[in-house]
Structure formats: C-alpha cells, structure tokens
C-alpha cells in the first residue's frame, strides 16, 4: 500500500488504484534455479500473433537452445528447446487458457550436460536494423511483462517513422509479483546491456527506466551498475508513484514523459517504444551469450504456496512441477492464477506449461479469494475514479447488461484495456471487466459477420 505522500512525490498518470502489494513475501528472495523435470511442453502460440512453425519432428533429439519452431509470419517468433532431450510429441495439448493448441513436447535427457554452453556472442553494433529485427525475432523475444507481444515488431519501423524515446518498464505494478524486481536487483548489468543494445540500434535520443517507488533498492542497484555503461548517458532512472496500472504502456509513457498516446494508436505514434526489463535482459543474453529465450523468472507466491519463491523457470515446465519445487500448495488453495492477480488467467488444471509471458504463479487460499455478493450499481463513481483510461465503466456496465453494444462503442468501450481497476473498486461486485470482454467479443463477432 502506498503512503499518501508517494503519489505526490513521484510522477504518475491520473486515476488508477492502490491495491495491497503483497510483495513482501517474495521481494527479498533471490532467484532460484529449478531442478530438471522429465517433460517440457511448448505451445507453438505463446505470443500474440501467428503460431510458430515446427522445424523438428517427433523423435528428433534436441539440445538446449536449439530452434524448435521458426516464426510463422512477421508477428511471430522462434521457439527454442529449453532443455536437452528429444521431441516426444507434436500435437494438441492443453494451453493454460484451457484451449487445446498445437504444442511440442520434449522429454528431457536426464544425463545431459546442464552446464551452460560456451557464450557465442553476436555483435549488434554491425547490424542494420532489418537484420537486428530478424535476429531478435528468431531469438524468440516477446514482451515479458505478461502481454507476450513479439518484441521485434516494435523495432520494425514503417518507412519514414523514427523512435526518439526508449522506455524500459520496471514498474511491475501487479500485486504479488516481484520477478522484475529481483531481476533488476540481481542482473542490473544485463538489463542495462540490453537497453544499450536496443537504444543504439534504434538511435533514440532519450532512455527512461521507470521503477515504482516501492522498489527503490532496484533503482539503487541500476544506478550503481550504470557506471559500466558510459554509452547510456541518456538513460534516466525514473522513480514512479506506486499505482496500478502503472505498467500499462500508455500509462507508463504518460507517467514518465507526460505524453499521451492517442486512443487507438501505438506508442510508436508518439515516437516511443516500451520494453520490459525482463525483455532487455533476455536481449542482452541473446547477443552476448547467443542464448535465445529459454527461461524466465517467475514469482511463485500467494497464501496457498507453502514456500514462496522467485524461480528461473525453463519455458514449458509444468505449473505443477514449479509449485512442487516450492513445497506444493496447501489444501485450502482454491485458485491458481497464471500471471498477476489483476490481469492473469485462472488455471483449471496445474498440468499446463509456463509460457514466455508467465510472470507469476499465484496460488490463493480460499480465505483470500474474495467472492463478493453482487448488488445493483449504486452509481458511487468509484470506477470512474479508478479507470486510467477515463471511461465510464458504470455506464458501460449498464449498457452491457442489456446488450446495447453499439452504444457501448460510442462510449469508447474499445479503449478499455481490461486492467480490472473498475472491477477491483466496485463495491457492488459487478464483474465489469468480464462484461466488457464479452461485449468486445460480441462486437468483433458482429463485425466479422457483416
């Protein structure tokens, strides 16, 4: 919970909410390595955009870091073997969202050498932007804050456009999560190195790294580490007020630069690109070590987890394995969430893999799963004060309840980023975000139909 003063001292966007952070249990825990498990499952569509196309067949032996699937289009990335072993299955498997999706299953070789391979650096300095974009794409880079948007797409500029600002996102505003926090504390050099590579490639004039004020130790760590990067003299480390959804791209840009990204447009339209700190570190590893995206830091936390931890998890590890490495979940656990508790997805089964965008696994005991009663909207206006997009969720909710979708569009439903702030504050327990998601889907269906 932020102190009232913090909001005033540090820059931020307007509106938003202050949910309890719940970060204490993991913020002090160093990143652990996970033991090797027998199976790894890699869905081909882990990111927004087209699924990757497999380049291996069942039975093939693969070594750690080997390309398993190549990009299936421009908005798509490569997929690599997180462990050494062989491909045991290619076909439909359960995605965390509940759908059956094509996936590659790898049976790990228990006797494989798990020492990291010798680094094979690639020098970014000599590349032109096109090669750089391709290299990042093949490296499997996606936004690691949770949205899993292929990173290279942000760097591929349409002709005539340029990027002036690079904003590195260390806000980590979702409660419970501390993966980015630990990464900034433990690998500040990697983050700065990745930032430097991207900044140089894009030729930006300014680099900002925004960190919420509840992680000022991370700011110190980065400040200490930056002396090793004389090129990064344009970097500004910006402490931000603790507020949700600070980590949303547009809110972060507004908080740091004061720029407002027009509704329906991209950060590119204000000549800005936003990357997560995790992505920056992964890019550094890609160029310096030749290591594509194979693993990521995942916060395992929540009242249902026996031993909360920050884990460096190879992609494709099943959630059950991760949780068991953390001592398992308590009997009264009634909900397991992949991602943060504000925007993550609930899991119906624990036998689903960790994805590139999985920033956390939160298990909540029954007492923390607040099932509030639903009452009529009392028009208290709290949702208006919460909505960082300045919408009127109350009115949208009323319209959604009676299926007046066209009118909802007129009231800018499509601007909603589904951050969940309105549902969080609603005293009447109206599932506003859920209504908006359904309405958006309905509107899209109708557009397709016509």
């Amino acid at each position: 919970m932020s102190l009232p003063g913090t909001a005033a001292r540090f820059p931020s966007f307007r509106h938003g909410i202050h949910p309890a952070g719940h970060k204490e249990s993991t913020a002090g825990l160093a990143i652990e390595h996970l033991p090797l498990f027998s199976h790894y499952l890699l869905p081909l569509g882990q990111h927004i955009g087209a699924p990757s196309v497999p380049v291996v067949s069942v039975g093939d032996g693969v070594i750690r870091g080997q390309l398993l699937a190549e990009p299936g289009g421009f908005v798509s990335t490569g997929l690599h073997a997180p462990v050494t072993g062989h491909v045991s299955h290619i076909g439909p498997r359960r995605h965390p969202n509940g759908h059956l999706v094509p996936a590659i299953e790898i049976r790990a070789d228990p006797f494989a050498d798990d020492r990291p391979p010798p680094p094979s650096p690639t020098h970014a300095a000599g590349m032109d932007l096109g090669d750089f974009v391709k290299f990042v794409q093949k490296g499997g880079m996606v936004g690691m804050g949770g949205a899993a948007f292929p990173t290279h797409v942000k760097y591929a500029l349409p002709p005539g456009r340029r990027i002036r600002r690079l904003v590195v996102n260390g806000a980590e505003c979702e409660p419970y999560l501390s993966a980015d926090h630990r990464l900034m504390l433990e690998r500040p050099e990697a983050i700065l190195r990745g930032t430097a590579i991207v900044a140089e490639q894009l030729g930006v004039e300014a680099v900002y790294l925004g960190i919420e004020a509840n992680k000022l130790d991370a700011l110190d760590a980065l400040e200490r580490a930056r002396c090793g990067f004389p090129d990064l003299d344009v970097l500004q480390l910006v402490p931000l007020a603790v507020k949700y959804p600070q980590g949303a791209e547009k809110m972060l840009i507004k908080a740091i630069t004061g720029l407002v990204v027009p509704a329906g447009k991209l950060p590119l339209d204000v000549e800005t690109v936003v990357n997560n700190v995790g992505t920056m570190a992964a890019i550094a590893d890609l160029f310096d070590l030749g290591k594509p995206l194979l693993e990521r830091v995942v916060t395992v936390a929540g009242s249902g987890v026996r031993r909360p931890a920050n884990m460096l998890v190879p992609l494709g590890t099943s959630v059950r394995d991760v949780l068991e490495a953390c001592g398992g979940i308590s009997e009264d656990t009634s909900m397991v969430i992949m991602g943060g508790p504000m925007m993550g997805m609930p899991l119906a089964s624990l036998d689903v893999p960790v994805l590139k965008g999985t920033s956390g696994i939160i298990a909540l005991a029954a007492k923390d799963v607040r099932v509030s009663g639903t009452y009529g909207c009392v028009r208290c206006g709290r949702c208006l004060q919460a909505c960082a997009n300045f919408l009127n969720p109350s009115r949208l909710g009323r319209l959604a309840a009676v299926g007046r979708y066209q009118e909802m569009q007129k009231h800018y439903l499509m601007d909603c980023m589904e951050c969940g702030a309105c549902s969080y504050v609603c005293p009447s327990g109206i599932p506003l975000v859920q209504l908006f998601r359904m309405s958006k889907a309905e509107i899209r269906n109708r557009e397709v139909a016509t």
Partner: protein, 343 residues
C-alpha cells in the same frame, strides 16, 4: 505432497477486490446515524425513537413484500431499505403520528425505490420521496413541532393517533429556528443551533454532532466529500453575500448553515451515490445547484425550509448532468500529443 488438482475456482481477472462493498458502505452510514439517533433520543425522548422505528418498519416491510419475488427478502441484506427508513424517520418531527411515519416508510421504498427497479435504479432519494409525500399529504402535521425537554418517557398524544385519524395537536407547540426567522424575524442563537436544543426534525438538531459525523464519513471515504463541500460553501457564499449587502433582512451565513435540515440533508441525503452525479465536475455542479436552491427557497420561497426540495430537484437533474458531463477518455483530448515532453 498433494498431486490432485484442488477444486479450483474459475473466475476471470481481476482476482483481487477492494474490501469495501455496498452493504459495507450502508453499514458505515448506519453507524454514523447511530449517534444522531442517540442524540435525538436525548433531546426528544422516546417519541423520536418510536417515529424512527415506525418509518423503518414501514420501509423494511415494503422491501420485503414487494422486493424480488424469487428470493424474497434477499434485498434486505444490502441495508439500503433500513437506511432509507431510518433517514426518513430522522427527517420527521418528533411528535409525528406513528401511522404516518409507517406510511411514509412504505411510500419511500415503494414509490421511491421499488417502482424504479430497486437499488441503484431510482431517480430520487427514497427517504426524501417518502418525506415529500408526507409533506404533501399531511402538511399541517408535518410542520407541527414539539418543544424539547419534556422527559424521555413523554409521548405526545399526536404520536399515538389511531391509523388514518387526525393527530390531536398538543397544546404546546414550538417554532423551528427557520420558522422563527421567516415569519417572526427572530434569530435563534448560534450556540443552541450547534448544541441542538432547538425544535426541529428528529435528526436535524445538533449541528456540532453532524459536523463530526460528516468529517468521519468523509475520512472513511464513504461518500464523495465534494458534495457536502460544494453545498455548504455555496450556501455560505450565497447567504454571505446577501448578508453583507443587507444584514437587516438576511440572516448570517452561519445561521443558514447550522439551522434546519441543511447539514443533515447534505451529509446523509445529497451524498446518496445513487441519486447524485458520478463525474467529479458533475458532482460539483450538483452541490452548487443544491446550495443555490436551498438559499432561494429559504429566503424567497413560501416555505421556511428548502433542503428537501432542493435535493429532489437536483436529483431530477442528475441524469442530465451525467449525460452532459462525461469524463474525456485518455488519449482523446484536443491537446497536441507531441507537446508535453517536458520531463
């Protein structure tokens, strides 16, 4: 170690919820009303408690009888009917016949809330609808005020009037500070307004107590602090200007603030979220409107008190305000997007 998946709850994000819920808000207001009821009991005795009880009973019975038929009585739990009933009771004179208070409770919930579709759908504050009905139906009885200090057990014979029968007015009646101001040009001393030992409605007596409760509710964020601030500042400024221009004719702004039902109505009726605008600018407009109307009605209208009608009128204007004053969505402003790179 447990291997089977637990019976997981599947919901959609967000999974966190602010602890305040609607019954909670209602409970906070009810809690704030408790001292008011206690003070009323101290000033007016048992009669006040009985009047509040009768109106509450009427409200609850109506909510139960005409609420949702599928799950009868389920809407009682949100506490809004209880709140409306108590609020209505507190706006009535202590010597009010109990059957009329009961009838008022029925009208408040029946015509003020249920015919609109229940909680959150009503245009007007239910308690004030009940009071407006009683004012229109029994204009004499509702403006007959009992004096204070007749002992706790004293019951006016009017209180006990048989249903549908006239309240035989006791020989002792009193005039409210506003009535004295309007018709006799007598000003009640400020001190007795603050303490509350002047005749009036059950809940509108001690200004000091109401101010404390208002501060507490604002601090708890139970209501939008802008509404009381807007109303009280408007009344103070408007009445203050008149007073400065002509202190002979017009009462001082402090008298205007602390007399009658202004504080009570401002804190407990105008702040009803259902019937007030949502966007902050709309809320300011709403409050200023009430403030202006209160002063206009009190000083130039036919009635000594105008808070009820002021709030009801602005309730009626609320949908219009909400329609006109909308938040402008992020990124849809007129400002040049490339300006602002100051930091």
């Amino acid at each position: 170690m447990k291997h089977t998946a637990p019976g997981l709850v599947l919901r959609t994000a967000p999974f966190l919820k602010h602890p305040t819920d609607t019954p909670n808000l209602m409970r906070q207001v009810l809690l704030a009303l408790l001292p008011v009821v206690v003070a009323a009991a101290a000033f007016f005795g048992m009669a006040a408690m009985l009047v509040v009880g009768a109106s509450t009973l009427g409200a609850l019975a109506t909510e139960y009888a005409f609420g949702p038929s599928r799950n009868r009585g389920s809407t009682l739990h949100d506490g809004s009917a209880l709140l409306s009933g108590i609020l209505l009771g507190l706006t009535l004179p202590p010597s009010f016949p109990l059957w009329m208070a009961f009838l008022g409770g029925i009208v408040a919930i029946g015509l003020g809330k249920l015919v609109w579709g229940g909680l959150g759908q009503n245009l007007f504050n239910p308690a004030l609808v009940g009071r407006a009905f009683l004012q229109a139906a029994f204009p004499t009885t509702i403006t007959t005020w009992a004096p204070q200090g007749q002992g706790f057990l004293h019951l006016s014979s009017a209180n006990l009037a048989a249903p549908l029968m006239q309240a035989r007015v006791d020989t002792i009646t009193a005039a409210t500070p506003l009535g004295l101001m309007k018709f006799q040009h007598e000003l009640t001393p400020l001190w007795s307004l603050l303490v509350g030992n002047s005749p009036g409605s059950i809940g509108e007596t001690s200004s000091a107590l109401l101010i404390v409760l208002g501060l507490w509710l604002a601090w708890r964020r139970t209501f939008d602090w802008r509404i009381p601030v807007a109303i009280l500042v408007t009344v103070a400024v408007f009445a203050g200007i008149l007073w400065i221009v002509n202190p002979e004719t017009y009462p001082s702004p402090l008298f205007m603030l602390f007399s009658g039902g202004l504080l009570f109505g401002t804190l407990f009726m105008a702040t009803d979220p259902v019937t007030s605008p949502m966007a902050p600018l709309g809320v300011w407009l709403f409050g200023v409107g009430i403030g202006v109307l209160v002063v206009l009605i009190r000083l130039w209208g036919g009635l000594p008190e105008g808070v009820m009608y002021a709030i009801l009128l602005m309730n009626a204007a609320t949908p219009l305000i909400d329609r006109v004053i909308q938040p402008r969505p992020f990124g849809r402003g007129k400002h040049n997007v490339l300006e602002g790179d100051a930091r």
